[in-house]
Symmetry: C2
Subunit: 142 residues, 2 copies
DNA sequence: ATATAAATTATAATTATTCTAAACTGTTGA
DNA sequence: TCAACAGTTTAGAATAATTATAATTTATAT
């Protein structure tokens, strides 16, 4: 559990003013035991459940993008029409459960030896992401 | 170069009526030397350039989804607000050039030994996709 | 040919996201 | 301390991709 003053320092040190909206969003995002994978909608719902005054949706978007640009969040590519964000900013890969639309971190030992041996000439690699889509193993009942 | 009658057979054999719209779209998609990576907008533009009568955008969407469901196209996950489709339906991976927003197939020898060693209990793996985001190697001129 | 189901189409609706511009707030330094 | 200024929040409008609707047209089987 991080203290409020730690969030204030973190925000200030990256040139972001510690507003009450940003501090609340920090609390929701970063005062957790486990990685949080979320859509903007997940986050907005989570905030409104915990708060009496509301934070505008525009501010949620603004803040998430600011945090992403500062490197406090990652954005994850899913074949869907909405963006997912991730509080785990280390290099790691994901399962995506197509039944529940849930992102799940891969442990280190899931993917063996991922090694990119070639690249496009004149380009640098910005990221390498593996997405493993999974779904229920049940037979279709036709 | 596939013949029109081959497209007709292919469509019929998958329970799709060979309409003139679908045949034109087949021609645009599948009469190519190389893999075609496209957005709906790319495809619609490509069609209208080659055609005097126009095909409705709704039909382009309908047809692309029908072809995807029949396994003639793959949909690729990019961190963007639009979907990409791929005429290469083999298992393969991609570079994504963030300068040009272009998808590029990885050759077999780009990724070594991709091996998924664990899975979520009770789920089956539907797909494994690697996306390598690249961009220009130039220094930022500040 | 006719009946029927499938497909096409224009257009409206939906949804995620971004933009706008006015009001508000945090910070700085006189 | 407090005015000035830049940074932030906000409601609401705009945008853009996609999906839904429902009327018309077309393909196919009998
Ligand atoms: Mn989609
Ligand atoms: Mn969208
Ligand atoms: Zn993650
Ligand atoms: Zn491809």
């Amino acid at each position: 559990m991080l203290k409020n003053s730690e969030f204030i320092d973190k925000l200030r040190s990256s040139g972001l003013r510690p507003t009450k909206q940003r501090l609340k969003i920090c609390e929701v995002l970063f005062n957790r035991d486990k990685t949080f994978h979320f859509t903007i909608n997940d986050l907005a719902k989570n905030i409104s459940e915990q708060l009496n005054e509301k934070i505008s949706l525009a501010t949620v978007y603004n803040t998430v993008h600011a945090f992403k640009n500062k490197g406090y969040l990652k954005e994850i590519s899913i074949n869907s029409d909405k963006s997912y964000f991730d509080t785990n900013i280390t290099n790691h890969h994901h399962f995506f459960d197509e039944d529940s639309n849930e992102l799940i971190d891969c442990d280190e030992d899931v993917i063996e030896n991922l090694n990119i041996k070639k690249n496009i000439t004149g380009k640098k690699i910005n990221s390498v992401e593996v997405l493993i889509k999974v779904a229920s193993d049940n037979q279709n009942q036709n």
